[in-house]
Amino acid sequence: MWKCLHPYAKPEKSYQLAGKLLPWFIIFSAITFIVGTVWGLLFAPADYQQGDSFRIIYIHVPAAMMAMAAYSSMAMAAFVALVWQIRLAEITVIATAPVGAVFTFIALFTGAAWGKPMWGAWWVWDARLTSELILLFIYLGIIALYNAFSDKVLAGRAASILTLVGVINLPIIHYSVVWWNTLHQGATISKFEKPSMAIEMLWPLIIMIIAFAAFLGTLMLMRFRNEILARESHRPWVLRLIETDDAQRLQKDK
């Protein structure tokens, strides 16, 4: 299976492949974003308890889900990077980390903003909140570790190791906080877990989740390309790329 992927293990090839995929991702995420946002904000009915403030769910839940999805893809990339020593996988890891961190932050921020009217406090020590906060710390740790190394090859390897160690811990963290929390007090969040959401509320949510996923993919591809360019900036193919790019731009100007 890895054999057929091998050509793409070359930076140049995968740079081009990412370039080809990128427009599709952009278009797809733009469309789903527009549909989801319009539907969710304008057409979905207001919640009978929370009124319109519940609409923050259309950002909150997708962001929270993508925060985890981003980490899973990082973990897979890290595994590939360490076992098969593929540098592009390392690049994937660190291309994804900041994106994941931002999604996590969005989930936390929207959650806190939602919590103030709903629970009367910005922050409570709830299981979900705590594990999300810890996820943010893990992301920050990976990013900080990467940036602390001046040699980017070593940095990528170190970040991959940490990602992998983190992924082993993530489920443990998840369950530990869930159990810990339920021992002290009833799950605060349970009142929102109504048996089922009204279907008109659910559809926009699903679309928004898809939109966030596509957006995550877009950002990953962009950062992936940038990272390759930065690392290979003095390789002939990149120099050629810059030349042709300049030439095209000159022609356009004319």
Partner: protein, 222 residues
């Protein structure tokens, strides 16, 4: 090979005994924390009892966090770490020895002073046993996980802060499971399940952590 393990451990211990502070520091840190809290919070026995396990575990965690920087840093600075890395034994094995020595110097003293703490914070017998057991299982896990963080950051100038950033998420589950077990004990419930969980984590980290540590060292010391 087993001889190499023993040699590394005994060298660490010798050095620590020579410095003295390495042995007393964790104990002393403990005593400080446990002394300061009654001073700072007030001395109602009920309140103290309620928060005692938490305080002890947080103190253990902080003590571990503080002692970690030492784990490879001194060796890195004076070049011994390089020498260990080019020794003819598997690096994972050598670092296991170092981590074991580290636990002997930080985890064990904490266990040894814990009876004192029990008295200071008026714990009852059951709670105390639970505390002891969780410390016994939990501190080696902390040492192993911490060593990964240290190994990743030892060559870096900004090591300190990064280390705690990395360590914190890794150590929270242990903290939570342990305090849960102690609380269960305080309410007279069974906490075997939680202990088993901690035990499983210990086994897993003993198995995998040395390799992660060795790999991290090869990356960060170069």
């Amino acid at each position: 090979m087993f001889n190499a393990f023993l040699q590394v451990v005994s060298k660490e211990l010798k050095g620590a005994f020579r410095r003295r502070s390495d042995i007393l520091n964790p104990i002393w840190f403990f005593v400080i924390v446990v002394m300061l809290f009654p001073l700072a919070i007030g001395t109602e026995p009920a309140l103290l009892k309620r928060i005692a396990p938490g305080i002890i575990w947080v103190a253990a965690l902080l003590a571990a966090l503080l002692s970690f920087e030492r784990l490879f840093k001194d060796d890195f600075i004076d070049g011994s770490l390089e020498q260990l890395m080019i020794s003819p034994y598997p690096l994972a094995w050598i670092v296991s020895a170092k981590v074991f020595a580290h636990w002997l110097l930080t985890g064990l003293p904490i266990l040894l002073v814990s009876p004192l703490l029990g008295i200071f914070l008026s714990l009852n017998m059951d709670t105390y046993y639970a505390l002891l057991l969780t410390l016994l299982i939990g501190t080696p896990i902390l040492s192993l996980l911490g060593a990964i963080g240290v190994a990743l950051t030892v060559g870096l100038r900004k090591g300190g802060i990064l280390l705690s950033l990395i360590m914190l998420p890794l150590s929270i589950p242990i903290l939570i499971f342990s305090t849960m077990a102690i609380e269960a004990a305080a309410y007279g419930q069974s906490y075997l399940g939680l202990l088993a969980l901690l035990g499983a984590m210990l086994v897993a980290s003993v198995t995998f952590a040395p390799f992660a540590i060795a790999a991290s060292l090869r990356v960060s010391v170069s």
